[in-house]
């Protein structure tokens, strides 16, 4: 069943047309990966879904509901969480304050908190520390943990492995697999190794258009296509 559908989505930023024609179907459950080179339009796609930039009317539907024209706040309240490329951590707030801000009522569900601690043990250790004092990997963990502190239907994650050490990336992949058991993830990535280890379905965006969409298994098997679309050969 399709959870999120983008149909011929176009987005302009100021006078520049950034997305020309983006059409993808994100099924419910698992990890859907959006791949693409720098500047291809991956981040713009996520921001357009969140309503941070306005996409063309009628081009984004979530469980059949049109999201275009909705305020970001209303989109978030539908159960869509966003982890931006810069992580969006509030450095002056403690880890606990960052987390509590993402709860609807300002209180934690103890079971959910235990689940978060199990996924990211470092966060429990630094619970009362200011977020600016965390390492890059810990900040990324906090950003993802904040997105799932309450059950969501869809999480949009923008390049979570950027600048992280390989060991941290492995931990992150394990956490994403766990999260994907209960929540759909739309993952934007440039790290193909990371993406292929997680994604069931995928699309490649190039110059604001979807250049390819299909299963990850088929894409991994087609090295010529990888080379053509991503400039790499695995």
């Amino acid at each position: 069943m399709t959870l999120l559908s983008l149909q011929n989505m176009k987005t302009n930023i100021g006078q520049y047309a950034v997305l020309h024609d983006v059409s993808i179907e994100v099924p419910e459950g698992g990890v859907f990966v959006l791949l693409g080179r720098n500047g291809a339009g991956k981040t713009t796609t996520l921001r357009s879904i969140m309503g941070l930039w306005q996409p063309s009317p009628g081009s984004v539907t979530f469980r059949g509901r049109d999201l275009t024209g909705l305020h970001t706040v209303d989109i978030a309240r539908l159960g869509i969480a966003f982890v931006p490329e810069n992580m969006g951590i509030f450095g002056g707030l403690t880890v606990e304050e960052n987390m509590i801000l993402a709860t609807a009522k300002g209180t934690f569900d103890p079971k959910r908190l235990t689940y978060i601690y199990d996924l990211f043990p470092a966060l429990q250790k630094f619970w009362d520390k200011p977020a600016w004092s965390l390492s890059g990997g810990q900040k990324q963990m906090l950003a993802v943990a904040r997105a799932i502190i309450e059950p969501r239907e869809l999480i949009l994650i923008d390049e979570p492995t950027k600048g992280l050490a390989p060991a941290i990336i492995d931990n992150m992949a394990a956490a994403f697999r766990e999260i994907a058991q209960s929540t759909t993830i739309l993952l934007v990535e440039q790290n193909f190794e990371f993406a292929r280890s997680l994604g069931q379905n995928m699309a490649v965006i190039d110059d604001g258009r979807i250049a390819h969409a299909g299963t990850m298994q088929d894409f991994v098997a087609n090295s010529a296509l990888q080379d053509q679309l991503l400039g790499l050969s695995v």
């Binding site: 969140m50 941070l52 970001t72 978030a76 969006g88 509030f90 002056g92 801000l101």
Partner: protein, 330 residues
């Protein structure tokens, strides 16, 4: 060097600056009684400036709005409070402290209510159309300040207005050979109470948490499902009310006010916000105390440098810490 820096950090870091300034002033002034009098005056002045500047700092930090019209709230607060105090002159002059207090509370309440209402109007009509456009913000808010000054001229006239003080705040305490003006001590205590209340709201409530988060990253607060525009208007109204309260306190401090009060205070208020760091209440308090102390010490030691002292302080702080002493965003 690193060890010295770490030790200073443990002892209080930038919060030691007012102490350092006071110690240097003590050595230069020589006479302890003069030093105590000047220090109390500086702290009182700092607290009143803090009242005026704290709202601007939050508005600047949270909304990214350069509101040069902020000091119009200071002016109106001062004039409204002065009018209420003059109207309740009988209560002010009474021997009953309760009546004195009632008159003062009425003046402060009138100033605060004006600040809240004017803040709502200003944010909705003047500021909202120019979000994310600093040049237009500067032009329109400067224009609003001029309009406010002219409105004050039209309502209260151009002559300086005398501001009566309640009986219980008249005079001074004489402790040994140290003279402490009662109004200054009151101003300090009121400013401190407002700081504690603001600190508690910002650090112990969910609204405060949202404001602190919004100062850092508005977009992310919205992506978490909170309407930042409603916070904007609330913060703007509270900031305007605090400025009006600061103006009311300043009127009693100066005892003679003119329509140019807002424009005169605008520079000081902006210096404090820049020194302290945008969006930071602790930074604003620190900046305001430093400005208050420096103005009094320099005014005593080198009167000709008094006007330039704030600018010199700002330049020195910005060369050392370009984001201010205690910025909200790390």
């Amino acid at each position: 060097m690193t060890q010295i820096s770490a030790t200073l950090s443990r002892l209080g870091g930038v919060y030691l600056l007012p102490v350092a300034v006071s110690v240097i002033a003590f050595i230069l002034i020589g006479a302890p009684s003069s030093w105590v009098t000047l220090t109390v005056a500086g702290l009182a002045m700092g607290m009143m400036i803090f009242l005026m500047a704290s709202g601007l700092s939050l508005v600047f930090g949270l909304m990214d709005v350069l509101n040069f019209g902020h000091s119009a709230f200071v002016s109106f607060g001062a004039f409204i409070a002065a009018s209420v105090l003059a109207w309740l002159g009988g209560w002010l002059g009474a021997d009953s402290i309760a009546l004195n207090m009632l008159a003062l509370m009425a003046a402060f309440t009138a100033a605060i209510l004006f600040g809240l209402a004017a803040g709502w109007f200003f944010e909705t009509v003047v500021i909202r159309p120019v979000y994310a456009d600093h040049l237009r913000q500067i032009l329109i808010t400067m224009g609003a300040l001029i309009v406010a000054e002219q409105a004050i001229l039209a309502i209260w006239g151009g002559s300086p207005l005398s501001v009566p003080r309640p009986n219980f705040l008249q005079g001074s305490w004489l402790i040994g050979d140290v003279t402490i003006e009662i109004y200054r001590a009151f101003a300090f205590l009121l400013g401190l109470a407002v700081y504690i209340a603001l600190y508690a709201v910002l650090n112990r409530t969910r609204i405060g948490l949202l404001i602190r988060a919004g100062v850092e990253n508005r977009e992310m607060v919205e992506a978490l499902g909170f309407r930042i525009d409603r916070l904007f208007i609330g913060v703007f109204m509270a900031g305007s009310a605090l400025a009006s309260l600061g103006g009311a306190m300043w009127a009693g401090y100066e005892t003679l006010i003119t329509p140019a009060l807002g424009a005169e205070m605008m520079i000081v208020v902006f210096i404090v916000v820049i020194i302290g760091g945008l969006g930071s209440i602790q930074g604003t308090l620190l900046g305001a105390i430093l400005v208050g102390l420096m103005a009094n010490y320099i005014g005593f030691l080198a009167p000709k440098l008094a006007l330039a002292s704030n600018m010199i302080l700002m330049m020195a702080v910005l060369l050392w810490r370009p984001n201010g002493l205690r910025p909200a965003v790390k």
